[in-house]
């Protein structure tokens, strides 16, 4: 296997799995899940092989791209079906195939009672293939294919149980909101082609050195819109909560670890654009900051364990976007947080799935409690993920989040202080709501509904959870050892650069840990040491009410987009019927009524017809008479 062909294998293997499983139909029910898992694992294997190949080369020569065939070539618009494997994409490849394979394994057991398990695995494989295409594409247009491909897979998986109308709606909502983001990506590509004349990463990078700031700002803002759509960032965040309608492994893989981080990938991949377009970069930071707060606030009020985790995901990606917006100093940290988050959040989602598995698919945390005793492994793995996400040293989240907070403060001036404080506040709130999840689920007294027999999940389910838990514990340290990841990514992001420190690193870490402790403490007081209602209390503060309604995001969308859209649709339908087609029908009716009026001249008397002929002859001859005058 040469390095060049194996790149295509990365994508082809899971894609083949999806195709085979979908085409084979019921015949594949027996072995479909195994094939899918095997293919995903072999793709991971290819990824590892590529990594070893890469490590064997000099740092400058590690990246390589490969042209498969000419995809679209019209005039000066030339896009090859090309793949690019560099230090950035290999991180994603391994994350996607690694976590993906684990989740495949988990799903074998989790979905074992579902009659459509084969279809589920087909979708999972499809997703892996699309996501790999997204991160391996060597141009914005190739990325776009993967970009919408993961959107499609996400749509299919969210709507996997689409016999429930609410789930079907959720999948549609996700797709449509993603499409708004995709539109941004379209615009970005169009602007890139119109102003720079190319859409490949290398071409744009080269051109961006001489291009106008206006053009780059335009591209940057549009890329941000795209990222916001895919990564559920403000203002396109509303779909993520509903996306939890999908089976829990899906939430773990797509809506926590991989797909939703595609926005971060896009922004970091386009670092050369944002570096040259400060306005766009500022917007990125603002969006990140808003979303991280937004997600955290929403997370505090959710009783549905998956929605709480989804809000947390949104918030954590906000951190990544924030970091990505901080320029060369932040890119690597964004990726680092992305990777660590991939581990701990996937692990926590799988844990949540495990809890649901044991609790008859109950998702309301107010109906949990004391599960620590019944699900020790789940508790342990979930707990490790919990420690990682809130940023307790030395767990993974501490390293990555701390780095982001630090970089945010280092952005300098008022901006730095604002961003840093926001990140700190976010960390505190994160600690609060994650502790709340932990307490409500595992440590508080039990508030089960009747007929609940919680039990530990089978081996195939807890094995992936354990692996991910190990990742949540160790990755942070591994990535930061000797600034490993930062240096690894330097060929992509350019020199990391040393910034003057606004505050000493140790101070920032201290502040972060303090914030976490405060958050945890409040949560403990509120939930561990006081009674929790099994029903969501009604007499809550106005803030809780608003947070429960996702800070009015749906109401906002409904009143700003959906209702006017519906009104507009009805208006157009009416206009088409009564005005446009009405005009046409009016012509028809006029002709008809004119006909029925003129019909009266047709008396049936042959002589009156003869008279008409005579008159016609007179007119004719008069015309000749006049013409020949």
């Amino acid at each position: 296997m040469t390095t060049s062909t194996s790149l295509a294998y990365l994508i082809a293997l899971p894609l083949a799995g999806a195709v085979i499983l979908l085409l084979a139909g019921r015949k594949a029910d027996k072995w479909g899940h195994l094939l899918a898992t095997a293919l995903s694992a072999s793709s991971f294997g290819v990824g590892i092989y590529q990594l070893t190949q890469m490590l064997a080369r000099e740092p400058e020569e590690r990246a390589f791209s490969q042209k498969l065939f000419s995809w679209i070539s019209v005039g000066t618009f030339n896009v090859d079906a090309g793949l690019l494997l560099d230090q950035l994409s290999i991180c994603f490849v391994l994350l996607i195939t690694g976590v993906g394979t684990l989740i495949h394994i988990y799903s074998i057991s989790y979905m074992s009672h579902d009659p459509d398990r084969r279809r589920f695995f087909a979708y999972l494989n499809l997703f892996i293939a699309a996501m790999l295409l997204l991160v391996l594409g060597d141009s914005y247009l190739n990325l776009y294919v993967g970009w919408e491909g993961v959107g499609l897979a996400s749509y299919l998986l969210i709507g996997f149980w689409n016999q429930k109308p609410a789930y079907a709606t959720a999948s549609k909502k996700a797709f449509v909101m993603n499409r708004i983001g995709d539109m941004g990506l379209s615009f970005a590509i169009m602007i890139a082609f119109a102003t720079l004349g190319t859409v490949s990463f290398s071409g744009v990078k080269e051109a961006s050195e001489t291009a106008s700031t206006a053009a780059l700002t335009g591209i940057g803002i549009m890329l941000l819109v795209a990222a916001a759509g895919k990564s559920a960032q403000f203002p396109l965040q509303a779909w993520l909560g509903d996306a939890m309608a999908g089976p829990t492994p899906v939430s773990a893989l797509i809506h926590a670890a991989t797909m939703v981080t595609a926005g971060v990938y896009l922004i970091t991949r386009s670092n050369f654009i944002f570096d040259a377009a400060p306005t766009a970069q500022l917007l990125v930071v603002i969006v990140g900051a808003i979303t991280l707060t937004f997600g955290a606030l929403v997370g505090t009020a959710k009783d549905d364990i998956k929605k709480a985790l989804a809000a947390s995901t949104m918030s954590q990606i906000g951190y990544m976007i924030l970091a990505a917006g901080l320029g060369p100093a932040g890119y690597a940290f964004a990726i680092m947080h992305l990777l660590t988050h991939g581990f701990f959040k996937a692990g926590m989602f799988l844990g949540a799935g495990s809890v649901m598995h044991g609790m008859n698919d109950q998702v309301n945390m107010r109906r949990y409690g004391a599960l620590r005793k019944f699900m020790p492994i789940t508790f342990a793995t979930f707990g490790l993920g919990y420690l990682a996400i809130i940023g307790v040293p030395p767990f993974a989240g501490f390293y990555s989040k701390d780095a982001i907070i630090e970089t945010a403060f280092n952005a300098g001036g008022l901006k730095g202080i604002l961003l840093g404080s926001t990140a700190l506040l976010g960390a505190a709130i994160t600690a609060f709501y994650m502790t709340r999840v932990m307490v409500l689920t595992f440590t508080s007294p039990e508030r089960w509904e009747e007929d609940q027999h919680p039990h530990e999940s089978p081996f195939l389910m807890w094995l992936p959870m354990a692996v991910l838990a190990v990742g949540s514990v160790t990755t942070g340290y591994l990535f930061t050892r000797g600034d490993g990841l930062v240096h690894w990514l330097e060929p992509v992001f350019g020199e990391h650069g040393e910034h003057e420190e606004f505050l000493p690193a140790i101070v920032v870490s201290g502040m972060a840990i303090t914030a976490v402790i405060i958050g945890v403490a409040i949560a403990l007081i509120k939930y561990q040491f006081s009674d929790v209602d099994a029903e969501a209390p009604e007499n809550v503060t106005e803030f809780t009410r608003i947070a429960r309604r996702d800070l009015f995001q749906d109401s906002f969308n409904e009143s700003i987009f959906m209702r006017p859209g519906q009104v507009l649709t009805r208006f157009f339908v009416k206009v088409d019927d009564s005005v446009v087609d009405g005009t046409v029908r009016l012509v028809g009716r006029t002709a008809l009524s004119a006909g029925s009026e003129l019909r009266k001249t047709q008396t049936g008397f042959a002589r009156s017809y003869a008279a008409l002929i005579l008159i016609g002859a007179v007119v004719l001859i008069a015309a000749i008479w006049v013409v020949t005058q």
Binding site: T603, F605, R607, S608, A611, L614, I615, A617, V618, I621, A622, I624, W625, T628
Partner: protein
Amino acid sequence: MLEIQTPETIMFWVLAPLSVIAALGMLLVKKAVHSALLLAWVMISLAIFYIAQDALFLGIVQIVVYTGAVMMLFLFILMLVGVDASDSLTETISGLRPIAITAAVGFGGLFVSLIGRASLGRDAVGLTEANANGNVEGLAAKLFSTYVFPFEVVSALLITAALGAMVLAHHQRSVARPTQREQSIARFRTGSLAGVAGLPSPGVYARHNAVDVPALLPDGSAAPTSISATLKARGDMLESRSFELGEVDNTVAEEK
């Protein structure tokens, strides 16, 4: 160059007004038969015009075909159909007549004015040369060379028309003709027995060929059923009374 001889001029100025008057008369007379006769006059005039214009063959054909055959046919059909004495000349479709007359005056006026204005741009040639071998031969040469295809087509048309006329005029009986027996039974079935013996024969009078005089019923009134409906419709029925004898003189002449 065509020289028109004085006799032709005289002929034209005599016959043309007459034919116009005849044509107008055709419109104005009440009886269709009279119209037909007037039309025949017009056609004969035209035949004369044709002959005068060196169209000998056409002139003869005009007389033979039109005045001979076609007008005969018209009269024949008139006999068959048009027995309702005379047409009413009052117009039933309101406004039609003034419109028609105005249009016709306009038409004729414009037409005549156009002809007056038009010019071929060269002098009339005359047919002396074309008719050098005789008019009939000249026509024949044209008909059987240049116009042979139209000629054949027209002949086909003629045959088709003849067949068409036969088909149209043919009357398919839908019920069998009643036999004498059936007619007799039907007569008895009617309310009165008056008609049982058959319709009365016309009155028989020594002084008149009696088919147009109705017979008298026993009460002395005329019996309309005794004469042909056609005669009645035409108004050719005579009063029986005029043939009644006066007081019958029963006295025997003395001199005998």
